[in-house]
Amino acid sequence: MRPVSRPEQSAAAASPSGRPLRRRERRLALVLGLPLLVLLTVPLVGLVFYAGPSALIAGLAHPATTQALLLSLATSLAALLVVIVLGTPLAWWLARGGRGTGLVETLVDLPVVLPPAVLGLALLLVLGREGMFGKLLGLELAFTPAAVVLVQVVVAAPFFIQSATAAFRALDPEQLAVARTLGARPAKVFMRIALPLARGGLLAGALLAWARALGEFGATLLFAGNFPGTTQTLPIAIYTALEVDPRAAQAMAMVLLVTALVLLLSVRLLGGSARVVR
């Protein structure tokens, strides 16, 4: 059922005394919020100013960057694929509501608020060489590119699942039901009606998840380590380069900053409603 604003509410909003915020009050709110806005933007503007646009070119050309960038792209895209393939059915199930979905949603959201160090440690304990399942299955997962992907899947999945669930929830159940009565099996209804109508939310979620996977640092460092060419992704390469070659670190940071900006702008263009945090 669609939420309908109650008549008395819309009546209050329409009356002159009940206007949401007058211009002076809005200006005061902005002034009070300004320090935070400065804090959010100044470091990034400073990075661009300090490193300069030429750093972006130099960063892309630097051999250490290229290696880390390629590894970051490969692992994050692999993680994104896993997240979309497994996350879409989960989001579909969550969107239908019912028993157990509240608990599952909380579990899905957990990695968003969990400190990455906790996550990395937990993965080591469970899947590391000496870990519970690692020992049992003889897994050599930790400190491999697969470990990088696994960490990225865990941290990125919530962003996709949240956005996809919201998109599926916004579908009109009556349209889906009509499609069924027209002879379409549930799979066809999903492919021809649900997916096209939820496309914007799914794409926005995928972009946010990809951005999160690209930026993953802490849990990767603990669970996958810092080996150039196998587990040293771009954020870890920045951390490593900081001591030996600050210019290279700045250049790589520029690469990630520009990527993040492009991704975020794409999300906004896809509908603007998708937010990183619900």
Partner: protein, 218 residues
């Protein structure tokens, strides 16, 4: 209380005897129809729920629905055809067109383009074929939804307040269209309406529903 309109020859016949409950609401009705019929009742009487039960969209506590000698659901025999196997044309309240498709795309969702064009022509909406469903007016939406419900030659037609949200001119036009379409079909149909004018214009027996129970049936 299976009311029999006995003189009519056993052509297509819908026979319904269902019971279900949703939270505090309980529906328990039995009736049989073989032509255009009105379903009337106050808000919350269970009219839409009854349609959804016939469509196979609501799980039943108990019941049996047969349509033209075919059993759609029979809880005592463990028969329960899914909605896609019941061959019922349905126009929900507000039409529920697929917004990302054109008028033709809506009708052709479950039929060939040629059949879809024929169905649009039948309801006088062929000129809307390539219009997006998002930009259609209320009357146009109802026409396209009616074409979509008819295109697979259903054995039963369910129309949920097809005339309620229309301006007087569109309402008169659609009333005339429904009158000719429903009588020409030779299948049972249920038309949900509150409006005495609609009933007078279209003609047909009336089923009165209140609080999930039949008050009067043909």
């Amino acid at each position: 209380m299976t009311a029999a309109s006995s003189e009519a020859p056993p052509r297509m016949r819908l026979s319904v005897d269902v019971a279900l409950h949703r939270g505090g609401f309980a529906l328990d009705v039995a009736f049989a129809i073989d032509g255009p019929t009105f379903l009337r009742g106050p808000n919350g009487a269970g009219k839409s729920t009854l349609l959804r039960a016939i469509l196979g969209l609501e799980p039943l506590d108990r019941g049996r629905v047969t349509l033209a000698e075919r059993t759609l659901v029979d809880t005592t025999r463990g028969i329960d055809l899914p909605p896609e196997a019941r061959n019922i044309g349905w126009v929900p309240q507000g039409a529920a067109l697929f917004p990302h498709l054109s008028a033709l795309g809506n009708v052709a969702f479950a039929a060939s383009v040629a059949d879809a064009e024929a169905a649009l022509a039948q309801v006088g909406a062929l000129h809307l074929a390539h219009r997006s469903a998002r930009v259609l007016s209320g009357g146009e939406r109802q026409r396209v939804a009616l074409a979509r419900a008819l295109v697979r030659r259903p054995s039963l037609l369910l129309l949920d307040e097809p005339l309620s949200a229309l301006d007087p001119a569109a309402r008169a036009e659609l009333r005339a269209l429904l009158a000719t379409t429903l009588t020409a079909l030779h299948i049972p149909s249920l038309v949900v309406t509150h409006d005495a004018g609609d009933i007078a214009a279209l003609g047909g027996p009336i089923i009165d529903l209140d609080n999930g129970r039949l008050v009067a049936a043909p």
